[in-house]
Amino acid sequence: MKLAVQLFAGARKIAGCDALWIDLPDGSDVAGLRSALGSAHPELAALLPAARFAVNLEFADEQLRLPADAEIALIPPVSGG
């Protein structure tokens, strides 16, 4: 399945775009996405370990299986407030 991953802040700046498409086997989980994103975009590797993923507007566990139509976002450590 092909999933769009929205990017923000430092991740957006590093990637140079608002979203990335990533190819994953059907039934992949968040850990799989994290690993695939790091392989496909090594420029994000430094940022990935501390980042979380949001799936359908909620922070997702590494074990969460990704629905094919999920809204996915990479959430680097936040600095609001």
């Binding site: 923000f8 430092g10 600095s79 609001g80």
Partner: protein, 145 residues
């Protein structure tokens, strides 16, 4: 009540929005932009968010605070876009019958916002560089506020 705004925060209005004749106390917290971080001078900040999720998270936090404390009114306002030195990037106003509740809830809200709401700030330094701020995971060791 949750607001994500581009304009400076109207603190007088924020306090009026939480005012109640059942309230004995109101606490307003403002997070403001410091000019110096160590030796480095900030010119201004720029805030960005993941809008749908930021709003949802803020609403969840308000609901959690109302569930945990006897709050009368609660208002969270966060600035987006460019924020000048000395301006507030965030305002939290809480009213309650007794003051302890308003203090605790306001403090918990700002602590938790800084951990879970997808909002990011970019420092614009006086040397012309800019930098997205991504604090180390866990409770930030060098909190700006």
């Amino acid at each position: 009540m949750i607001d994500l705004v581009l304009e400076p925060i109207d603190t007088e209005q924020a306090l009026q929005r939480v005012a109640s004749q059942r309230a004995g106390a109101a606490v307003l917290f403002l997070g403001t932009t410091r000019e110096f971080t160590g030796d480095r001078r900030t010119l201004f900040l720029d805030y960005e968010c993941y809008p749908e999720m930021a709003r949802r998270k803020l609403e969840e936090l308000e609901a959690a605070a109302r569930n945990r404390w006897s709050i009368i009114e609660c208002l969270i306002i966060h600035r987006l876009g460019r924020v000048e030195l000395g301006e507030a990037s965030v305002a939290i106003a809480v009213s309650s019958a007794h003051r302890q509740v308003a203090f605790e809830a306001a403090q918990w809200l700002i602590d938790t916002i800084k951990q879970v709401v997808p909002i990011w700030k970019q420092e614009h330094w006086s040397d012309g560089t800019r930098e997205w701020v991504h604090p180390p995971a866990g409770p930030p060791r060098n909190s700006t506020h």
